[in-house]
């Protein structure tokens, strides 16, 4: 099947730093996909490439049926929220609503007013005078009001308190469900011939695995500027197991399964493995892995062909999230 987002070999280099290398992913339509990875892993770069704010050094991205580009039909379908929540600090939320209304063909300014009224965020104060959390809410509401087919959200939860986070995730899930079922937005240029119509797809980056687990059904994991995992969360959970056993040789396991991570103490060994069939050796206790274990397992794994040294060096070299 063709995803809303398809990339192949997507690479972005900034002078000497490689922010994203050889990224090949597919995000199916109508999903909420979580993008995880440590700081500097390339999450922001990937989102900016997909939004058309940056151009790839190599490789290709296909978003909504074409490359990210400078045309109205494409831009109208993309909702992007940058990590630093950039808004015009001297303008009010109300003025930002007008901003959107004048620059977008579909615009649901009423939804922003309703959301902000519900959160008791004043519409008539310069957004620079709002708290960080309030500003994030304004920016999120504005991004949603554009009614895009694809939402690209870079750390939208970072500035929110736990309650606001839960509400936002609920609203997001609701928006995806609503768009999936129905009507409006069916007549999208890119989705016109796609039967079920233009369901909302979301790609959101976050550090908070619990939040990802709560709302996402698809996961992309970046580590050291490379894609380590990309797939349905259910599938990932089904594929991975935690094996615990006495301290012993793991080569037998490694022969059949892929060992993602190995922790050994003097007395026992814990393995995170990607299964390739059942584990037959009764010496190992087999338990289901939760998402956090899988994510952390892959994050701490040395990527193929790299010892711990160079990878650490590379991660620190990447520095910021660009």
């Amino acid at each position: 099947m063709t995803g809303v987002i398809e990339t192949s070999g997507l690479t972005k280099r900034y002078r000497r730093v490689t922010a994203l290398s050889d990224c090949t992913i597919s995000v199916p339509q109508g999903r909420i996909s979580g993008l995880v990875g440590e700081n500097g892993a390339g999450k922001t770069t990937l989102l900016r490439l997909l939004a058309g704010l940056a151009a790839p050094t190599e490789g290709r991205a296909t978003v909504l049926g074409g490359a990210p580009r400078q045309d109205l039909a494409y831009l109208a379908e993309i909702g992007f929220l940058a990590q630093e929540i950039p808004l015009y600090r001297r303008l009010t939320a109300q003025e930002h609503i007008g901003f959107g209304a004048h620059l977008n063909p579909r615009w649901d300014g009423e939804s922003v007013r309703a959301r902000l009224a519900g959160l008791k965020i004043p519409l008539d104060r310069p957004v620079g005078a709002l708290s960080g959390g309030q500003r994030a809410q304004v920016a999120l509401a504005l991004t949603l009001a554009k009614r895009p087919a694809l939402l690209l959200l870079d750390e939208p939860l970072a500035a929110l308190d736990p309650l606001a986070r839960r509400d936002f995730l609920a609203a997001l899930a609701e928006a995806v469900a609503a768009k999936g079922d129905s009507e409006e937005g069916v007549e999208r240029a890119w989705g016109g011939g796609r039967g079920a119509g233009g369901g909302l797809t979301v790609l959101l980056s976050s550090h908070l695995i619990a939040d990802i687990e709560r709302v996402c059904d698809h996961l992309i994991l970046l580590a050291g500027s490379r894609v380590q995992l990309c797939g349905d969360i259910d599938t990932l959970l089904a594929q991975h197991r935690v094996l615990t056993g006495p301290h012993k040789d793991t080569t037998a396991i490694a022969r059949t399964h892929a060992i993602v991570r190995e922790d050994s103490t003097a007395r026992q060994t814990t393995l995170l493995v990607k299964l390739n069939g059942p584990v037959t050796d009764p010496a190992w206790a087999v338990e289901e892995a939760n998402l956090e274990e899988i994510v952390l397992g892959y994050m701490s794994q040395d990527s193929p062909g790299h010892s711990a040294g160079p990878q650490t060096a590379r991660l620190s070299a990447v520095g910021g999230e660009r």
Binding site: L72, E84, L91
Partner: protein
């Protein structure tokens, strides 16, 4: 997009409008007074038959307001630094570029509208200031014919419009290339001053070949109207031009270069020295840009600055369309 810009810039526009209004009122009041004095002086001198030395009997074009008018030289630079410089750079610094560029508006459209309005505002405000100053200077010009001189040429007529448009385009381009407002302001100021100085003092004089008039050393010569004097001196009997000796009735500058065969000392009347030089074949010359070229030069210089502005805007487009947000 225009609505969006208006929201972003209306405070700036209001401030600029208020300053312009205050400036206009100040110059209007004093300008009317100057005009009245000028007319009164004309009436008086016509009665007395003393209009020949009007510039000695009437004092116009001096004082603090004259300084203020001359200070309008800096107006285009202020536009360039504070309107042009941050136009793109500030959006990059604060990240709002990412907000603007992910609305349903292409970068090309975003920049076209933004640059067009800023350049238009610069032309309108710069033109208004220049218009007021030009009007204010009318009696002074009539009296002193000084409007072609560097410095005065630059604040009257239409060249200030060209400067303002250029300065804003320069600011936008510098901000786009550098990506940060403050360094962009500095670069804008530096480049603007350099270009202005080079054009004023090196290039301008060559727009049209200067006119040289050769005349008798025993006579005075003053070109008509607001001419721009360049050099003067004497033509030696051999035909060479020398600027180390300047003579006019009653005046000899450069006594040392007076030919030895003509007695020249404080004891000898200047008139006889000059008559002697005339007999030997010495003539005076003056090189200048005639006053009727004031407007052709205004148009040429404005054209140059508008062309430079267009090139800078072209560069800005290339960068904005290609570089990452």
């Amino acid at each position: 997009m225009t609505w969006v810009l208006w929201r972003q810039y209306r405070v700036t526009a209001a401030i600029a409008g208020a300053i312009l209004a205050a400036f206009a009122v100040l110059l209007l009041v004093t300008g009317l007074q100057d005009a009245a004095r000028w007319h009164a002086a004309l009436v008086t001198c016509a009665k007395d038959g003393t209009c020949g030395n009007l510039s000695q009997t009437v004092s116009l074009g001096s004082g603090p307001l004259n300084t203020l008018a001359v200070l309008t030289l800096a107006v285009p630079l202020v536009f360039g630094m504070f309107w042009g410089g941050p136009a793109v750079a500030r959006e990059r610094e604060t990240g709002t570029m990412q907000f603007a560029w992910t609305q349903s508006v292409t970068r090309r459209h975003w920049l076209s509208v933004k640059a067009a309005w800023l350049l238009l505002a610069a032309a309108v405000f710069g033109g208004a200031v220049a218009g007021i100053v030009t009007w204010w200077y009318a009696p002074v010009n009539a009296l002193h014919h000084g409007q072609f001189a560097p410095g005065y040429f630059d604040i009257q007529g239409i060249v200030p419009i060209g400067y303002a448009v250029f300065a804003v385009a320069l600011g936008i381009a510098a901000g786009t290339l550098i990506g940060r407002s403050l360094p962009a302001l500095a670069v804008t100021a530096g480049v603007f001053l350099a270009v202005r100085l080079v054009i004023t003092y090196v290039v301008r004089v060559h727009y049209l070949p200067a006119v040289t008039t050769i005349y008798s050393v025993t006579r005075n010569f003053t070109p008509k109207g607001a001419y721009w004097p360049l050099t003067q001196g004497v033509v030696l009997p051999g035909g060479q031009f020398s600027t180390s000796l300047i003579v006019a009735p009653g005046v000899i500058q450069g006594f040392g270069t007076v030919p030895a065969s003509c007695p020249a000392s404080s004891a000898v009347p200047i008139g006889s020295t000059l008559a002697c030089m005339a007999r030997l074949g010495y003539r005076s010359f003056a090189t200048y840009q005639p006053g009727y070229r004031f407007w052709p030069f205004q148009f040429m210089e404005t054209g140059i600055f508008v062309a430079l502005a267009a090139a800078l805007i072209g560069v800005t487009f290339l960068v904005v369309l290609r570089r990452d947000a």
